[in-house]
Symmetry: C2
Subunit: 351 residues, 2 copies
């Protein structure tokens, strides 16, 4: 019986290549996926046929037949947030020239959306999954645990990995900057936070721990909102914080965008930095060291986290599970002009 006319628009198939090269279809398949299992002569012959016909394997057929797509599903809460943009860049760069593809999903910081996307991703049988954070819903966690592929949780570390994990402690990050500001002589150190996703919450917890340890904690110093972060929001929240506590002498911002907004607002209100008010951010975007004055921040290795997450996933796909399933990348406090106030004539503590 005559086969029905090609639906796919006449693109050559593996059978065409096999015919042209005078070999079996399966050998062509092997030559493309595991060249070392095919003799050099045939390999060469097949390569010529592939070039001549302009053959490109059909990923859909391949995925169906092998019950595994060459796709790594990646779930991030935001694509415009520079932090995740950098993570994603690291992920793409970590792919190198593998045949793997990335399937990106944006959860918009919503656990339900994460569940939904996980369902969708799973329906493609991905080779691995990368998800952001450690606060999956129970349903999402169940999906991850029965995913049947390597899973990497990124950006944070916690006690109970689904599989693998790479990130750092946001609580310790928050604690470190806050402590630094206290040591610089600031007493009324405020916290300004937008979005307040779980990672922000933990930065706040670190702030609170440091403030309480110094006997300086006061709820009224904390100004947060669930509104998405932006530079202009930093400006607004700083105004709010000052209105609540006019004696505020420093602010630790949730992230660098807010810190920049605070800087501009302080400039506008003619509040001298760092003498009148100290400013610190989080993530250490490029602009922080260029700003005038330069802004203290916590450098987070987000690009590296993306790269390494892929490296871990690739190792696991290849069956070589890394020795360390949980990797703490740490962070680095970048103390700069915006918090360089010397307390009561004392020199700041040596590093």
């Amino acid at each position: 019986m005559k086969p029905r006319s090609r639906r796919g628009g006449g693109r050559p198939t593996i059978a065409d290549v096999a015919r042209k090269a005078g070999v079996g279809a399966i050998t062509v398949s092997r030559a493309l996926r595991e060249p070392e299992r095919v003799s050099p002569e045939l390999r060469e012959q097949i390569a010529r046929a592939v070039d001549a016909l302009g053959y490109v394997p059909d990923r859909n057929a391949r995925a169906l037949a092998s019950a595994r797509a060459d796709v790594i599903g990646v779930l991030v809460p935001s694509l415009t947030n520079n932090v995740f943009a950098e993570v994603v860049r690291g992920i793409y760069d970590g792919l190198g020239d593998t045949h793997l593809q990335v399937q990106l999903g944006n959860t918009h910081y919503s656990g339900l959306e994460e569940e939904r996307l996980l369902q969708v991703f799973l329906s493609q049988k991905p080779s691995a999954l990368i998800v952001s954070g450690i606060d999956q819903t129970p349903a999402a966690r169940a999906l991850l645990e029965s995913a049947g592929c390597p899973v990497v949780q990124i950006m944070e570390i916690g006690p109970d990995p689904v599989d693998m994990m790479i990130g750092f402690s946001h609580l310790e990050g928050g604690r470190a900057v806050t402590r630094h500001m206290i040591e610089a002589g600031y007493r009324k150190v405020g916290f300004i936070g937008a979005r307040m996703d779980p990672r922000s919450q933990r930065r706040l917890a670190g702030y609170r721990a440091a403030m309480e340890a110094a006997g300086l904690y006061d709820v009224r110093l904390v100004t947060t909102t669930t509104t998405p972060s932006s530079v202009s929001l930093g400006q607004e929240l700083f105004r709010d914080a000052l209105a609540k506590v006019p004696t505020l002498d420093a602010v630790f911002c949730n992230n660098d965008d807010l810190a920049l907004g605070v800087l501009f607002e302080a400039n506008r209100a003619a509040l001298a930095i760092p003498s009148k008010v100290g400013i610190a951010g989080f993530n250490d975007l490029d602009m922080m060291h260029v700003a005038f004055p330069s802004i203290t921040s916590v450098r987070t290795p987000r690009y590296e986290i993306g790269r390494q997450a892929i490296a871990m996933a690739r190792a696991a796909i290849a069956g070589k599970r890394p020795a360390d399933l949980v990797v703490d990348t740490g962070f680095e406090l970048m103390a700069r002009e915006s918090t360089a106030r010397h307390p009561d004539g004392r020199r700041p503590p040596a590093p």
Copy 2:
């Protein structure tokens, strides 16, 4: 003959659902894709079976059988550049709750990489393609023309669309800001550009056109590099520009990151803005209106371009090709404090 044991890990298939619902497999398929072609009773019955079994269609099988994947391929030159991050956000938002998925590719501003990714994307038979810019290589263009699916070129418009197009004229954008600065009384208006991709080149062309029209053009006013843009690079290039032309009285920056770097450097060097030096950026990121002083920029509808590109692609997929295949979104000049210098006692021209 007994079928080989399930490779897919025992997930239910359409046949399982059909059996459970007491209907044919094809009816299940239809109930899921074109519910209106199935009677309400069966639809209901099938829905129950789907829920009971937790059935999720296999995208790979679906794509193979229908020779069409529910995927829209999107090629952007960068993921960290806020502009494209916003475009991508618009694209994801434009998807709504369709079953469509986005496949994102990062060309790193390379035509060759664009070709390679196009090959890869085409091997999945995407439902549509969205590509950035209008400067595809001949090979990439050929691939697009024979893609057999709707194609949307975004961010720019030009005379020769592959299929559909949505964007604005970067040349006109550059011309508009430059003219604005000249009208504000600046004479030695410099151009600072990083990356210098085709769109930047056209902004420069617009700058040049405006400067020449005013008899002010001088090559030495132009400072560019192919290095990727950043705030710190803005700082450096501004220093370079001043070293070349110490009488420089304004700069039009390629983009807002550079403009921010210039602002900080001007602050640092105690050059008053806007009296001593005027500053303008491009794209109008949120921070531009918050900055102190606020910075003049050109607002570009990048989020909207992403949304509309998807809308156009969806219409075309559904067979309803939009009336306007080429959409000019325009742009908006946002004149702010950073260029508010009154020329020689004259009031600035009314808007």
